[in-house]
Amino acid sequence: MAFDPKIKNDLIKILDEDRVKDDRVTLYTYRSDALILHPTMPMGVVFPENREELVAIVKLLHANQITFLPRGAGTGLSGGAIPKEGSVIIEMFRFRQIYDIDFANRSITVGPGVVNIKITEHVKENGYCFVPDPSSQKACTVGGNVAENSGGPHTLKYGVTVNHILGIEVVLPDGEVVELGGKQWGAPGPDLLGLFVGSEGTFGIVTKITCRLTPLPEKVITLLGIFPSVRDACSAVSNTIREGIIPAAMELIDNVVIQAVEKTIAPGFPLDAEAVLVVELEDMKDGIEEEASRVQAILNENNATEVRRAKNEEERALIWKARKEAFGALGTISPSYYVQDGVIPRSALPDVLGQISDIAQKYNLTIANVFHAGDGNLHPLILYNSKIPEEIEKADKAGIEILDICVSLGGSLSGEHGIGLEKQELMGTLYSSEDLSNMEWVRSFFNPQNLLNPGKIFPTPGKCAETKMGPQIVQSKSGVVA
């Protein structure tokens, strides 16, 4: 794959030679996002820096009926930024402007290429933060967060990305620029902004984002419950919420992950614990101690062998480092892994974790769990060796069985990573064909010729889950690029 010489020439007229690339190294680098399911070389990669350049590129590609897709940092876990049809990748990482910080409206307007964590860094001193905090927040872009409607540990209390976006500017697939929302909280008419967030880069390319800022809490208490069984830890989660306490975060880490993070980050989690539960409470300093005592009691009532409390910011940071870098740490105990993102009703957690363990036994595989327990958002990491074809097949089947359980319990295929290429063939298990064609109908409004990010979210006609998922994992050394 490479650009047609005429197209390349036209692109160079808009950008310059340095920012229009189709050399082999570039194409190879951009063949996938963080999920190397089935890497596909793009036709080429372009690097616009502002809206005018982007509009000109989009109009050119549109006029020539060439498919294209935006890419942020490429940390997506569902293949959203994989150029399925050898499309042109539009790298959005250079849209890094901070346009406007407006404390009176508690908002910040940024370019989509701004890295998630940079937003909070900009406003922290003034007592604010940007709530969505995916574990990838040191790398992923706000544009990617908007596209995927990303979550993170602290979205349990405060809601996912859509709840923190006030307005966006978008370039539609024919080059038209539109604005959705603004600094006011809502306006008459259908909530098109709410619809756009989570559309996985298939409606338009976001060029500006006004994010809502949230006041930082006065006090944060981080508890670490240590449990002799995963079931007990899950019960503690359900019972805490049942009591009407919604912590800022409730994250479960099982023994496999404990072993891995102790090798890399060494947060001091007991190696013989079957699970640890990170519970973070944040609020005003008055009243929070009572809540923390109550949570502590609930953890104890659910058989916690010990409940620790981070004594200072360093201890807290270490716990969160272990949680947020857990995926990477698994590299020390397995050559490859495949992460799922299904959601179940929270009260079903204790049973479902048991079922996941049964699935692991059935396929003779190890499945690690580190996930947003408070939301019922599972992240089973299926460990396998990509050099052993049978293991690949088993990992694939185990993944489907886990998602089957989620769907059968009234849950969903994805809580935050999106459908992308990874789970598109499973969408039929969740929705009827009419539901799906209705969604495609809405897409065809924004993206009538399907030139923007084609081949995502919806099942490919004539394919089914079993035949699709299997071979996809074959090429991947690891489910996630380090």
Partner: protein
């Protein structure tokens, strides 16, 4: 062929078959809940008010799924029984949930609890092809496919017939309190500016006009220690400025706080306020939204009251209601002109909720329409190809 009475079937499949037929014969109709919010002279009316089933309510998972005809009051009482609440504010207890969604109603609780967008997790509706379709689901976190439930928020009956909805609900806080403070004039704006700058976790703020000026309510919640601290901080800001100041624990003094939006923790019904305003039949009701900074920075609320308006203001989040009891079109038009002048150059938008028949959305000019209005019109054209879902909002 115009129906005099709304058609309001009790069964979903009967309603679905009726809509399919209308689409097939390209025969427009208006979909309503109970149907008094806007006049629809000469249109056939379909009402979803008799679809009242509860599909599921799982307090442990904090989710509920109901049909669109359930009233706001019934939903409130259902979830209250299990000590849950929804931080949305339907304006009237009798409003059906379908219409609350279609109007994207919100009130004071949006400040801290978010609006409908933040608690809707799934939807079922009949689309412009006559298909009964679903999106989202019944778990609290879900990114499987497009979130069409959000597209239907604010759709004003123009994109389809909403038949069911799933919500994420919240556990009720340990306790709720309200600080009530009265002011002779608009000094409260200055005080709210101060409060806003303090980054303080209150749940809602609502100011409304009274016979002697303004009543300001600030709601807060949590355990005793939390509320005691917030009360202390609020007193520091407000004491000595208002004419009277009182803090009520809602659990104990409900009567005294009957106007407060936090009442019963569902909050925000306009009904008690409207009673207090003693409105006649054809009063003017305008609803405006604008950025908080602009409301607190440059809006002059006294101008409206001097011209006879009664108001309900939610300063943070930035929205306010204007009521004018004067039924003459002239007075109502003047009030609207005043509002438009005040919002000139801002991002502010206006909805005309109720007025003398001489006023219409046309009088709002660009203030009626968000920036993305042309996109809204276009999506309506695409998703309602038979043009059956009659909804005036899209016709300008």
């Amino acid at each position: 062929m115009s129906q005099s009475k709304p058609y309001a079937p009790k069964k979903l499949n009967t309603l679905h078959a009726w809509v399919k037929n209308r689409i097939h014969s390209k025969d427009p109709f208006v979909v309503l809940g109970k149907g008094t919010r806007s006049p629809h002279a000469g249109q056939d009316i379909l009402s979803t008010k008799n679809l009242k089933e509860i599909h599921f309510f799982d307090p442990d998972d904090m989710v509920i799924g109901i049909q669109a005809g359930m009233t706001a009051a019934d939903l409130q009482s259902c979830i209250n029984k299990k000590k849950m609440f929804l931080p949305i504010n339907p304006w009237y207890p009798e409003s059906t949930i379908g219409s609350v969604l279609a109007c994207n109603d919100f009130g004071p609780s949006r400040m801290n609890g978010g609006g409908l967008r933040d608690c809707i997790i799934g939807i079922e509706y009949i689309n412009g092809k006559g298909e009964l379709v679903k999106a989202g689901g019944k778990v609290v976190k879900n990114v499987s496919g497009y979130d069409l439930s959000r597209m239907m928020l604010g759709s004003l009956g123009g994109l389809g017939v909403i038949t069911s909805v799933n919500f994420k609900v919240n556990p009720q806080p340990a306790g709720t309190s309200v600080l009530m403070c009265t002011f002779e004039n608009d000094q409260w704006v200055e005080k709210i500016r101060e409060l806003h700058a303090k980054i303080f976790p209150v749940d809602w703020i609502q100011a409304m006009t009274s016979q002697s000026g303004w009543i300001l309510g600030v709601g807060f919640s949590g355990n005793d220690a939390r509320r005691t601290r917030i009360e202390k901080e609020l007193r520091q800001i407000f004491e000595g400025f208002g004419q009277s100041l009182d803090v009520f624990d809602e659990n104990k003094k409900v009567k005294k706080t009957a106007d407060a939006p936090g009442q019963n923790r569902f909050s925000g019904f306009l009904t008690p306020i409207l009673k207090r305003f003693k409105l006649g039949k054809q009063y003017l009701h305008l609803h405006a939204v604008l950025p908080t900074g602009e409301l607190l920075g440059s809006l002059d609320v006294q101008k409206f009251t001097l011209q006879g308006a009664q108001m309900v203001v939610h300063p943070i989040g930035g929205d306010f209601h204007i009521f004018l009891n004067d039924e003459t079109p002239k007075a109502q038009k003047e009030m609207l002109t005043l509002l438009k002048n005040q919002l000139e150059g801002s991002e502010g938008k206006i909805s005309l909720i109720k007025s003398a028949p001489e006023l219409s959305i046309n009088d709002l000019n660009e203030f009626a329409f968000p920036r993305e209005y042309s996109l809204m019109k276009a999506i309506k054209q695409q998703l309602d190809p038979a043009l059956v879902f009659h909804a005036p909002f899209y016709n300008y």
